[in-house]
């Protein structure tokens, strides 16, 4: 049989694969995974296998966790008897729907530039004797294949593991099949909806806007879409409690959430199609899916006609000039914290890279968005308490908000620092910077504090002054700022490079340990410190406890740096030591 397959491959597939259309298809699939756009993202090309594993990981981890929840022994120990898997698993099914939508949507946003054909494709392919129709269909086929591959990859683990975890112990094949098929169809359709919704947005923008304007605003649209997906993820915490028959009437808002629509399909397939709520949601889901696919395909066709075919005509137009708006008060900063010229040049280079380089902005934005979601989740209990008094006195949840945001911003930017930006261009620093005179750490510190404390301190002070009065606001803001400074110092303990100009470190054997350290750091910074702060705010004298604490941390760091060898402080442009991030 294997020999037969080989024979078939040799005689039929190989000759076919060398024809123009399959060749085009291969090129377009390749560009989807390895490039597209002009962002210089090649520095971050991690390979197809790694991408697929990373996308599948959330499904694997969540499915594995459910074995504990639905294990027969554990349920018996909890005193839970027989259960209806189709009812009991609604919150988990909702979470899987959300997860498949979010991960697929995130992947589509990530490959945003690679989905539609661009000038490079035009230059390379159109001059060849290949018809435009064939190019159009080739890329469309590549996009559909990508959608199918993403959908299968992201949901593959839950196809198998979720039914096994929930109904694997029950001796009924039909139950297993009904449960598994219902789940599989639901998450596949949800993934497809998510992918085509993002694709429709790209196609519409490309079809409607001039190319230069599209390039300019696409970053912001992607950020907004990413935020929408994070909000969708956050709904998995609250929405399941509104899905029971008694609670559904409490709010109509859940009808607007796409994940709830697809839960309707799931419930219909699981035999609850007679429930009017789920029947309505099923119809909405199918309608929404149809609309997203139709709009995506139409806008793709329109953008191909309007943008791709007209690329030679638009070549003369050029992009719009960059705005001269400065995010920071540059004059004031130059006179105060950036008086040293090389530091000033590096600071501006770093901030511009962070705000303009797509790869770096994506990393920083992802962490900021995560901070927003985790922060929203953290303060939700205070608001759910439903009493005005709950937010008018400091609580651990409310106090933790700036710490969570600050932690995520700082970690996101610190991680982005490690990703090089067009390494071949760093000759300008290697040539003009004096490696003995320039201290990279103060620059990195200033950037981290500008992006974290810059926006957070005024917001933190103003909001706590309104809620808790001036004294509490002053103390809270001062403690938060001091702790953030100490945290930044710890993060930059051995930092000795100009961000984005150094080759990125190889995966080190202790990288997993560092990851655990960051998780532990998150716990301390966003849970224990707010707890300590809450205790100290009860009596102003207690706040003084923070003074020796912060001083001890800063002094320890100072002592550690003093005993470092000079060679470990020297500015580097190539990561060779294992002491990087």
């Amino acid at each position: 049989m294997i020999e037969g397959a080989r024979q078939f491959f040799r005689t039929r597939w190989e000759p076919y694969s060398r024809r123009p259309f399959p060749t085009l298809l291969r090129v377009f699939i390749g560009r989807v995974f390895h490039g597209g756009g002009d962002s210089g993202a090649s520095e971050m090309d991690v390979g197809l296998g790694v991408i697929l594993i990373l996308l599948a990981l959330p499904g694997v981890m969540v499915s594995l966790l459910l074995f504990e929840k639905y294990g027969t022994l554990i349920r018996w120990m909890r005193g839970e008897g027989a259960f209806d898997p189709f009812i009991a698993t609604i919150p988990d099914e909702y979470f899987f729907v959300v997860l498949s939508m979010v991960v697929t949507g995130a992947a589509a946003i990530w490959r945003w530039d690679a989905l539609l054909l661009d000038r490079r494709d035009y230059t390379n392919i159109v001059p060849l004797p290949v018809s435009l129709r064939r190019i159009f269909l080739g890329n469309l086929a590549a996009i559909l294949l990508l959608a199918a591959a993403l959908t299968l990859d992201i949901n593959a683990a839950s196809f198998a593991l979720f039914p096994v975890a929930v109904v694997g112990s029950q001796d009924s094949l039909s139950l297993f099949l009904q449960f598994g098929a219902g789940h599989a169809v639901t998450v596949v359709l949800a993934s497809a909806f998510s992918f085509f919704a993002v694709f429709a947005v790209i196609g519409l923008l490309m079809a409607i806007l001039p190319y230069a304007l599209f390039r300019r605003i696409s970053l912001y649209v992607r950020f907004l879409l990413a935020l929408c997906f994070l909000v969708l993820l956050a709904t998995s915490l609250a929405v399941p409690s509104f899905l029971s028959e008694t609670e559904r009437g409490a709010t109509n808002a859940i009808r607007a959430i796409p994940a709830v629509w697809f839960l309707g399909i799931n419930q219909t397939l699981w035999g609850h199609g007679n429930d009017p709520f789920f029947a309505a949601m099923t119809r909405t889901a199918l309608f929404g899916l149809g609309i997203s696919v139709t709009v995506a395909l139409l806008s793709y066709a329109l953008s191909f006609r309007r943008s791709f075919i007209r690329i030679p005509e638009t070549a003369e137009v050029g992009p719009l000039p960059r705005s001269q708006f400065h995010l920071f008060p540059t004059g004031l900063m130059d006179r105060t914290i950036l008086r040293d010229l090389p530091q000033r040049a590096c600071f501006r280079f770093i901030t511009r890279t962070l705000l303009r380089s797509e790869a770096h902005l994506q990393i920083a934005s992802a962490f900021i968005a995560m901070g927003l979601v985790v922060g929203a989740q953290a303060i939700a209990p205070a608001f759910r308490a439903n009493t005005a008094a709950a937010i008018h006195r400091p609580s651990e949840d409310l106090l933790s908000l700036p710490y969570i945001l600050s932690f995520c911003i700082i970690i996101g930017i610190r991680l982005a620092f490690e990703i090089p930006s067009d390494l071949r261009a760093n000759w300008v620093f290697a040539l003009w910077i004096d490696p003995d005179a320039l201290q990279a750490r103060p620059i990195a510190r200033k950037v981290l504090l500008t992006f974290s404390l810059g926006p957070l301190v005024p917001i933190c002070f103003a909001s706590s002054a309104i809620l808790w009065g001036l004294e509490s606001a002053f103390l809270h803001t001062a403690i938060f700022a001091a702790c953030t400074v100490a945290f930044v110092e710890i993060l930059l303990l051995r930092f000795r490079k100009i961000p984005f100009t150094c080759s990125h470190p190889q995966f080190q054997s202790h990288s997993a340990l560092i990851f655990v350290a960051y998780l532990f750091g998150f716990l301390i910074f966003t849970a224990y410190i707010p707890e300590l702060e809450l205790w100290s705010l009860a009596g102003p004298w207690r706040v003084t406890l923070f003074i020796p604490l912060i001083a001890a941390i800063l002094l320890s760091i100072h002592q550690y740096r003093k005993q470092m060898l000079d060679m470990d402080k020297h500015l580097i442009f190539e990561e060779i030591s294992p002491s990087g991030f």
Binding site: G40, G318, L341, R344, F349, W427, A430, W432
Partner: protein, 255 residues
């Protein structure tokens, strides 16, 4: 005054250049020629201090540049072979980055940048990202960044790459004017016609070794060729270029 003494560079066990010697006085323009892989870029990197020679040294005003690289580079203007620039910065921002790193005073830097952008016809594009600049525009940005701090030594690696005819003509005259103002210029190029026109001295490299050096006239007389192209072909190319061209055409027209 820029001087190379016995410059030799090995990459591991591979010899890149061997025993390069020259001495450049203010006002002189040295044309540095050689085929691909002859060691031109390695020499340039040693001259600007990005690579340390395995043997030999580069002297500036009699001092080894490695003793005070930062001080030496304040006198240096450099145009690299490839226009590797940060694509998300605008032309003006990139020049400000270079000017600030070079420690130029802000008012002087701004005035110079504006004047250069105007002269190099880039002023209308100054707020546009470098990613959308053409090759020639990027090359002009590199030229400005090399010239903006009034350097004493100019090291130019294929500076005409991508420039249009007018810009190239301006540039040729510019080299001559800079030389007349006492600038020391090291000019590395494949474009023999330009080298012949602007360079007062020649140094021809093959497989990492100097095979001819001296003033353009001296080299001409020594080789017995009237054109630089003839000299280059005789010294560097051991293949019959006309025959190779014919062979290529044969393959083109073959069924």
């Amino acid at each position: 005054m820029l001087e190379a003494q016995g410059l030799t560079k090995y990459y591991g066990s591979v010899l890149a250049v061997q025993s390069i010697d020259f001495r450049l006085e203010p006002g002189q323009v040295l044309g540095y020629l050689g085929p691909n892989g002859s060691g031109k870029s390695t020499t340039v990197k040693m001259l600007i201090g990005l690579l340390e020679p395995t043997n030999g040294q580069v002297l500036f005003h009699g001092k080894n540049i490695q003793q005070d690289l930062v001080g030496y580079r304040k006198h240096l203007g450099y145009v690299p072979e490839e226009a590797n620039l940060y694509p998300y910065l605008t032309g003006q921002e990139y020049l400000e980055l270079v000017g600030t790193l070079r420690g130029m005073a802000q008012p002087r830097m701004k005035a110079k940048i504006d004047a250069f952008l105007e002269l190099f016809s880039l002023f209308p594009h100054r707020h546009v990202s470098l990613s959308s600049y053409s090759k020639g525009m990027r090359q002009r940005i590199l030229l400005i960044s090399a010239l903006m701090d009034n350097p004493d030594v100019l090291i130019l690696d294929e500076p005409l790459s991508g420039l249009d005819v007018t810009s190239a003509l301006i540039f040729k005259n510019l080299i001559q004017s800079l030389s007349a103002r006492g600038k020391t210029i090291f000019y590395c190029s494949h474009v023999l016609e330009v080298v012949e026109k602007v360079c007062s001295r020649l140094l021809i490299l093959r497989k990492g070794q100097v095979i001819a050096s001296g003033s353009t006239e001296e080299v001409r007389q020594r080789i017995g060729q009237t054109s630089l192209e003839g000299i280059f072909l005789q010294l560097v190319e051991d293949r019959d270029v006309a025959q190779i061209a014919n062979n290529i055409v044969d393959v083109v027209v073959s069924p």
